[in-house]
């Protein structure tokens, strides 16, 4: 009885979840198949699927579709991982060690308000239009973001836990490793999740500006040639990859922070 009720409640929940997306899809079908909007502005769902299959078979601009996806993901993850690896310890130290914060903090306070995308032309000039310029750009974005989150994470470690740590005889490095770092993990993970979505947005933006491959490049180039169907395929793929990245890091977060009981 109870199991049945929960099962039906679950089905209702899925129905509600599907109804929003389904509604959008239905509206789209009516607009395109009903001839209300010309396919030059809004391609039909089947038109986009057709184009997707073509792209999957023949590629786009001398690269396979998978290569475009791979390039964007590779640049994002490379920059993101480096940014997290460097930004997290730096931020933790900034939060823990006042003298360190006083001496190097101002550098980051100056850099932080600069939107990383503003560096794009500079890095293209330095490093060309390949992977390196994008990876460095994303590195900077992720680094600054992780710096901020790790520093805030340290501040959010409850005072009573710091006291409990000191009461156990810990101080300095011991307190840092055994109390501050694990205590900052929730803040760090929230930061990493946002930093990853920012990184994904950055890579697409950077590829729009200057690149020879990648989803951002595909979209930008399709726009130039009024190839509206490729444009739509590109945008949808950017959305799907972004979603997969977000779900993946969410899964890692749940695993690392299982002790939060959520």
């Amino acid at each position: 009885m109870a199991a049945e009720r929960t099962r039906s409640a679950q089905m209702l929940r899925w129905l509600r979840r599907g109804s929003g997306l389904g509604g959008c899809l239905a509206l789209w079908c009516i607009l395109s198949y009903g001839g209300i909007v010309s396919p030059g502005f809004l391609p039909s769902p089947s038109g986009i699927v057709e184009r997707f299959i073509e792209l999957a078979e023949n590629g786009y601009a001398n690269s396979s579709l998978w290569q475009h996806i791979f390039d964007s993901v590779y640049r994002t993850l490379a920059g993101f991982v480096l940014g997290v690896a460097a930004g997290t310890p730096t931020g933790l130290l900034l939060g823990y060690c006042r003298r360190f914060d006083e001496s190097v903090g101002p550098i980051f306070s100056f850099l932080r308000p600069i939107p990383p995308i503003a560096y794009t032309p500079l890095f293209v000039l330095y490093l060309g239009i390949g992977d390196a310029s994008k990876i460095v750009l994303i590195f900077i974005g992720a680094f600054l973001y992780m710096l901020l989150s790790a520093q805030a994470g340290v501040r959010n470690v409850p005072e009573v836990l710091v006291r409990a740590g000191r009461n156990a005889g810990l101080g300095g490095a011991g307190l840092f490793v055994r109390v501050i770092v694990p205590g900052s993990l929730p803040g760090i993970m929230t930061g990493a999740r946002t930093a990853l979505s920012v990184s994904w947005a950055l890579v697409v933006a950077a590829e729009l500006i200057a690149a020879q491959a990648g989803l951002g490049y595909m979209v930008s180039s399709a726009g130039v040639f009024f190839d509206i169907r490729t444009l739509f395929v590109g945008i949808i793929l950017i959305g799907i990859v972004g979603l997969i990245l977000d779900r993946t890091i969410l899964m890692i977060e749940r695993k690392l922070l299982h002790w939060q009981g959520r």
Partner: protein
């Protein structure tokens, strides 16, 4: 005759575990503690009661080493306090368990891996005494407030502290659980006879758990009176209704309201 002087200070002729003399604490112009002196003998349970703002938590923080007195001396086994340490283990009012560690690891927190392994049998002993069997692998979020304090007490005791500093440890628990914990504290005392400084604002609790009650008043923080609690151990909750208990409670309340 010398015995009498010792009795007045700590209730015993052996040198006191804690010796506090002329301690003052000022924050700018605010006097949190004005000239506090007392000592605590080995295995004695001293409760400190008083209204909020009387400086009782400040006093505990000074003994723990989290805070420094503006004036006066605090000696533990004759040595001044320089920093917090496990020989003065604190049981905090708020759950101060590390949420990323399970019960067992919380209990041995601060131990090296080797020491934790060596003490494994003692960890089991404390898990049994504190009624934590079956919860060794649980994380704090899976525990009730009472269970968390059981872990906190186990963590404090396994360090063999010279003094156990309890800062309103049962203040956040419901009445039923609080009573269970107070009785549990008696069991622990019967077994290990730890020296305890117990901060509370609950007069019943103070009388029930302690050998001696320091009644404090606020603004400035002062010890107004010292009330002996000559009730024999072991104590159980029926004691609360006894005449002797009520007499002591009346005396403490009279001092608090004077």
């Amino acid at each position: 005759m010398l015995m009498t002087a010792a009795n007045a200070m700590g209730g015993s002729a052996t040198p006191p575990v804690i010796d506090i003399a002329g301690v003052q604490k000022r924050y700018g112009h605010v006097v949190a503690l004005a000239d506090v002196s007392f000592s605590v003998a080995r295995s004695e349970v001293v409760a400190i009661v008083g209204p909020s703002g009387c400086g009782k938590s400040t006093l505990l923080n000074i003994i723990a080493g989290f805070d420094e007195p503006t004036d006066g001396t605090v000696l533990v086994h004759g040595a001044p306090i320089v920093a917090p340490g496990p020989e003065r283990s604190v049981v905090f009012q708020q759950p101060a368990l590390f949420p990323w560690l399970n019960v067992r690891r919380n209990i041995v927190f601060g131990f090296s891996r080797a020491r934790a392994a060596r003490q494994s049998a003692r960890v089991d002993e404390f898990i049994d005494i504190m009624g934590l069997r079956g919860f060794e692998a649980s994380y704090p979020y899976q525990l009730s407030g009472g269970m968390m304090q059981r872990v906190s007490i186990a963590r404090a005791l396994i360090r063999d502290p010279e003094v156990l500093l309890m800062d309103e440890p049962f203040g956040a628990l419901d009445a039923q659980t609080r009573l269970t914990m107070q009785e549990l504290l008696h069991d622990v005392w019967a077994r290990y006879a730890p020296t305890i400084v117990f901060i509370t604002h609950d007069v019943d609790e103070a009388v029930f758990v302690s050998d001696r009650i320091l009644v404090m008043s606020a603004r400035p923080g002062l010890i107004r009176d010292v009330v002996e609690v000559p009730l024999k151990r072991p104590r159980s909750y029926e004691l609360i209704m006894s005449e002797a208990f009520v007499d002591i409670k009346r005396r403490v309340l009279a001092e608090l309201h004077a």
